[in-house]
Symmetry: D2
C-alpha cells in the first residue's frame, strides 16, 4: 500500500499516519525524493482497508499496489516518465538514438565517432571508460582519462554523454562527466550500487541482467527510485539462453510487456544483444517496431581494430543506413526520432 | 561434399561417381527430388579434393559444404527459395500474411474468420484440425471434419489453407485438404514424420522446437529436403527461457541469422510466441522489421469464447490495425505485402 | 475429479454417473485399462461436490485431484508402482541397473557388452536399434537386425532388453523384441506415439524432453496411462540450459520432486546427460543418492570405436567400479541394488 | 603463458623477462601474492615459444596455459588447494559441513542453531548479516549487529563463521568478524568487489552466478587469485533454467567438471538451490556423491518463523538425519567428513 500526503500536510499529520501503520503491526517506509511525501506500507496489507488511511487528515490518497514493484509501476503513475537530459527528452513519444564505440580508446577515435554519429542523427554519445571484463587480463578501459575524452567530445559536438559506472567508489567521478550513468548487466543486482545511484543527480540507464526476469529488473529500478532518483531508463540487451549462434538472445518480448507495466523509458541495445555486426540493424529495427523508446548502438570507424567488441560495431556508414530505416519504422508506430535542436 | 551431375549425365557416369566415393571409404547419399541428380558424400571428407570428382565425366560440380545442413544452406543455393502455393509466392521479396483461429471450431466460426482476415489483407487462412495438447483431457480438434471446414472456407474466400499435421498416419488426409502442411514445435524432431513429409507434394511450414537451436532446426528442414521435398518454410514461434511473464520468448535474433544461413523462407508466429493478445502486434511488427518473410497470426471473432488459445487471438479489428502497420514497416525494409490477385 | 466405480458396479450404474456428469455441463472421460472402471470428469469442476457422486449406486469413491496429471499422481495412488518385467521389479525399494551400448552395432559387440554388464551386476541390457539422429546423414541404427541381436543377447545372458521405439509404425516390431520400450527425449510430446503405447503390453521408459518441465513430462506419462498402459517409468536425461561444458544439464532436482508427485519409477541416464565419459560415474552416483530408482548407463568395450556416443560410454571396467560405489550409496538411502536371481 | 621465476631470481632478471615480453608486442602482468614471482603474458602468444623464456637467467619455468582461467587451473597447479581456516581444512579429501540460518535474527536464535548444528557435526556456522534482497522493501539483515552475534556464537561453540559480504565498503567490517567471506550469486561478476577481496586476508566462498557458465565462474575466481588471495572456494547454488517447480536448478554436473578443471575446493548449497525443505537432503546427498568437498545447509530451529527462506531450512533434527546419510555416502567416494578436533 502507498499513502501519499497532501502538499500542505503537516509533520504531525505524517507522524499520525506512520503511527497508525505501526499500530497495525506494519512498517512505514518513507520514499525519499518523490515530489510529495509518500509512505510505502511494508508487511502483509491483505486485511487493511486503504480507506482507513484515506480519511486521515493530510492524506491525499491511499492506494493498494498489486505488483511488488511499486514506484516504477503504471499502477502508481500512469503517464510516461520523460527524463529531461539537458534539454533532450528521454522517454515519451520521441525516440532517442545513442551511438558510439564500446570503449573510449583515444582522443582521435572518440572525436571521429562523435562527429560521425551526430551527422547521422544520434543525440547521445556512448563510450566505455570503465569496462567490466570477464577476464582480469583484458583491457579494462581508460578510466578517468576516458571520461575526460567523452566530455571533450560532448563539447565538440553537443551530444549528451552516456557511460558506465561499475562501482560505488567511482560514482562521484562518473557523475562529474556523464549526462546519463549506465549500470551494466552484471551489476543489475548490485544493490549497494543501485542504492548509491538513488541519491545521484543524474539519470540512470539500467541494463537488464543476463538472466534477470522482467520482474527482477523492475525491482532493481525500484531500488534506485525508492532511494530518491526517479530518472531511470531500462535497456534490454539480451538474455542468456541455450542458443549459441548469437551472443545473447535479445528479448524483444520484454519491450511491449515493460511498456504496459512501467512508466519508465525502455531502450534496446542490439549490439551487445545479438553481437554480430551484420545483424545489428535488424534487431535495432525490431526494437523500434516493438515500441522501444530508443536504441543504443555501437559504432566504430574501424571495427576490425577496436580494442573491444569490434565484431559487433557498425561503421558510420552502416549506422547512417540504419537511421534511415528507423525513421520510417517510427512512423509506423506514430512516433518520430529526436533530432538535435 | 556435394556432387551435382550434369542434366545429361548417364546412369553409368553416376555409377562411376558412387563407386569412387565408396572406394575412398565414404558413403554416397543420393538426394531425391532435386532438379538434377545430386549426391551427398557422407563421412570424413577432410582429406578429399573436390576436383578429383569435378573432372569426372558427367559431373557438373563438386562442392565442399562447411555446415552440417547442406541442401538448405545458402552455400549450396544462394538465391531465395520462393514456394509457389497455387499462385501465391511464399518467400522472396514479398511478405505473406497468414491468419485465422487456433482451432477450427465450427462452420460459422471458420467462415466468419476467413472473410474477416481476407478483408484485412491475409492471403492464407490458418486453423487447427488436429491439435496436439499437453493434456490428454483437452480439446484435440475436429479432425477430418475440421479439414473439410477449412476446404469450405478456401472455396468461399480463395484463401490458401495452412493446417497442422501431427503424425505420419494422417499425412495423406491432411495433404488432401491443405495447401501448406504445418509441423508443430513438439514434432520438429519427429524424424519419421519429417521423412514422410519429404515425399509429399505439399509445402511444409516447419515450426521451431521449444528448445531447438537454429542449427538443429535447419537439420530438421534438411531431413525433409533430403527426402525430396524442397518446399520448406521455417517459422519462429518462441523458445523456452527462464522468463515467465510471456508464454515463450520469441527469438527475433533467429530471423536475420536464418536469412543469412538459408535460402528457405522464414516466418514468425507472434501469437503462440508471446501468448498475450495485447502484445501480439508489437512482436508481429518486430518480426517484419527484422526481415521475416511473413507472419502467422491468430484471429478469432470472439477470442474470449475460443476453445483454445483465446487469450492470444486478435479480433478482426485488431488484426486490421496490425496490417496497416505491417505495410509501413515493409517499406522500411524495401518490401511489400503480398495481396490477393 | 475422478470417479472410481465399485468392482461389481453395473453398466447402468456407470451410465447414470456419465449422465449426471453431462447434466452438469461436463464431459465424462473413461480411463481405459485401469483395474476398475474410472471416469475422469473433464471441465471446470470448481463448483461440483464430489459427495454428489460418491453417494450414487455403484460408486466406490469420487476424488478431486488438484494436479493436471491425475492417474500418475500420488494423490490418486499413494504407493509406488512396481513394474514386473518378467520377474525383475522396476520401481519400489530396489534399484535397477540398465547398461549397454548406445547403438547395437554387431553380433559380437552386443554379446560382448551383454556378458560384461551382466558380470558387473546389470539386470537390463540397453542398446539402440532405431536411432533418431539430428542429421539425416548419420548412422540411423541396424533397425530390425539390431532388435534381433538384442533378443539374441537376452537369450545368451538372461538380461531384460530396453530399446527405443521412434514411431507408431514400428511399435509392433519393437514390442516383439523388447522387454521395455523406450521413448526418446525428442518424442516425449509425440502424442500419437504416446497414445499408441497406451495399448501396448510392454512397460514404457519415458525420457524427459530437452526442455520439458516436470509437469509436462508427467502429462506425457498421463497420455500413456490414460490410454490403458499403467507401466510407465520416467527417465531424467538432462535438460537444455545455457551451460556448454556439458552435453546437457542433468536435473538432479527433478528426482526428489518427481518421487513426491508421482508413484511411477524414476530413473536417471547419466551418459546422455553429462555426455563426458570421465564424469558419468559422478552423475550416476548423484542420481542414486538423490533417490532415483535406477540408472541407465552406456557401456562399450571400445568406446573410441563406437558408431555413436563413444565419448560418453564407460568401459566394462569403469562400469564395474561404478557398480561398487552405487551399492554403498544405496545403503545410505536404505535401499539395495536388484540382482539377477 | 605463465613465467615463474626462481626463488632467488634477482630484480634485474625479472626486469629482463618483462622487457622481452614487451619487445614481442605483449604485456607482462605480474601476479601478486603468489609464493614465487609469476608473470602472466597477456596478448596473442600463439607464435611464442616458451623455451625462449625458459632459458633466461632466473626463470624457473615458462608454461603455456590453454584455458582463459590460469591461476585457478589444474594445468598450473595439479594438487588440490586445501585452505586452512584456523585449523579446519577446506578442500582436499575431507568433506566440510557448513550449517546455520539464512539470516542472523537474534542472539537466542543464532546460539540455539549454532549449538544444534555443532551437535549434529557441522564445523562451520553460516548466517547472513547483510542480505541482498530482490525487493528494497524486504528485511536486509542486522548488519554489524548480526556480525557480532556470529562472533558470539563462534566463541560459544568453536564453530568457524561464514558470512556474506555484499559490497566493497563493508569488506573491512566483515573481515573483522568472519572466518570465511562469502560472495553471493548476484555479485559473482562484481569485479570491484572481487578485486578488493584479492587483498583481504580471509578465504572467500564464491557462489556461482544465476546464469554464469562454469568458465565465467572460474574467471571470477581468477580475479580474486590474480589480486593476491589464493584461498578461494567455489559454491554451486543452482542456476536459472525454464523449470519452475524448483527455486533453481542445482547443476550437479558442474561438480565433477570443476574438480577436473580447478584445484580449488567445490561446495554445494542445496538449500538455495532447490529451495524446498523436504528435498534439500536429496540434493545434499547428490552433491557429496558427485564429488563435492562440502555442503552449506540452512538450518533453523523453527523454519516456519524464519525472517527469510524458512521454507528451505531444515530443522536441527532433519539436519542430523542428513549428516548420518552424508557420512555413508562419503565412504562410497573414499572420503570422510571433517569433525571438530
Amino acid at each position: 500500500m502507498f499513502i501519499t500526503m497532501k502538499p500542505d500536510a503537516t509533520e504531525a499529520e505524517s507522524q499520525a499516519v506512520a503511527d497508525k501503520i505501526r499500530a497495525l503491526g506494519l512498517t512505514p517506509h518513507p520514499i525519499s525524493g518523490a515530489e510529495r511525501r509518500v509512505v510505502a506500507v511494508i508487511g502483509n496489507v491483505a486485511g487493511i482497508d486503504p480507506d482507513d488511511f484515506a480519511i486521515m487528515p493530510g492524506v491525499f490518497e491511499a492506494l493498494r499496489v498489486s505488483q511488488p514493484f511499486k514506484l516504477v509501476s503504471r499502477e502508481v503513475k500512469a503517464e510516461d516518465t520523460i527524463i529531461d537530459v539537458g534539454g533532450v527528452p528521454l522517454g515519451g513519444k520521441a525516440i532517442v538514438v545513442i551511438a558510439g564505440p564500446c570503449s573510449v580508446e583515444s582522443r582521435d577515435q572518440i572525436l571521429e565517432v562523435a562527429h560521425a554519429v551526430k551527422q547521422a542523427g544520434a543525440v547521445f554519445l556512448r563510450g566505455g571508460a570503465f569496462k567490466p571484463r570477464t577476464s582480469p587480463y583484458e583491457f579494462q578501459g581508460l578510466r578517468e582519462e576516458g571520461l575526460k575524452l567523452l566530455a571533450l567530445a560532448r563539447e565538440a559536438t553537443g551530444l549528451k554523454v552516456v557511460t558506465e559506472v561499475k562501482d560505488t567508489e567511482t560514482v562521484p567521478m562518473v557523475a562529474e562527466y556523464a549526462d546519463v550513468m549506465q549500470v551494466g548487466a552484471r551489476n543489475m543486482q548490485n544493490y549497494s550500487l543501485l542504492e548509491r545511484l538513488g541519491s545521484v543527480d543524474r539519470p540512470i540507464l539500467l541494463k537488464r541482467g543476463l538472466s534477470a526476469t522482467i520482474k527482477e529488473w523492475l525491482m532493481a529500478a525500484e531500488y534506485i527510485v525508492a532511494k530518491g532518483n526517479p530518472n531511470v531508463a531500462l535497456c534490454e540487451r539480451g538474455i542468456r539462453t541455450f542458443e549459441t549462434m548469437t551472443r545473447n538472445t535479445v528479448d524483444i518480448n520484454a519491450i511491449p510487456v515493460l511498456k504496459a507495466l512501467t512508466h519508465l523509458p525502455v531502450l534496446i541495445d542490439p549490439s551487445h544483444g545479438i553481437g554480430i555486426r551484420q545483424h545489428v540493424p535488424a534487431i535495432a529495427r525490431a526494437g523500434i517496431a516493438a515500441g522501444a523508446d530508443g536504441i543504443i548502438v555501437e559504432v566504430h570507424p574501424r571495427p576490425e581494430k577496436a580494442l573491444s567488441d569490434g565484431h559487433q560495431s557498425l561503421t558510420p556508414a552502416e549506422f547512417e543506413g540504419l537511421m534511415r530505416q528507423v525513421r520510417v519504422i517510427a512512423t509506423a508506430v506514430e512516433r518520430s526520432v529526436v533530432v538535435r535542436s
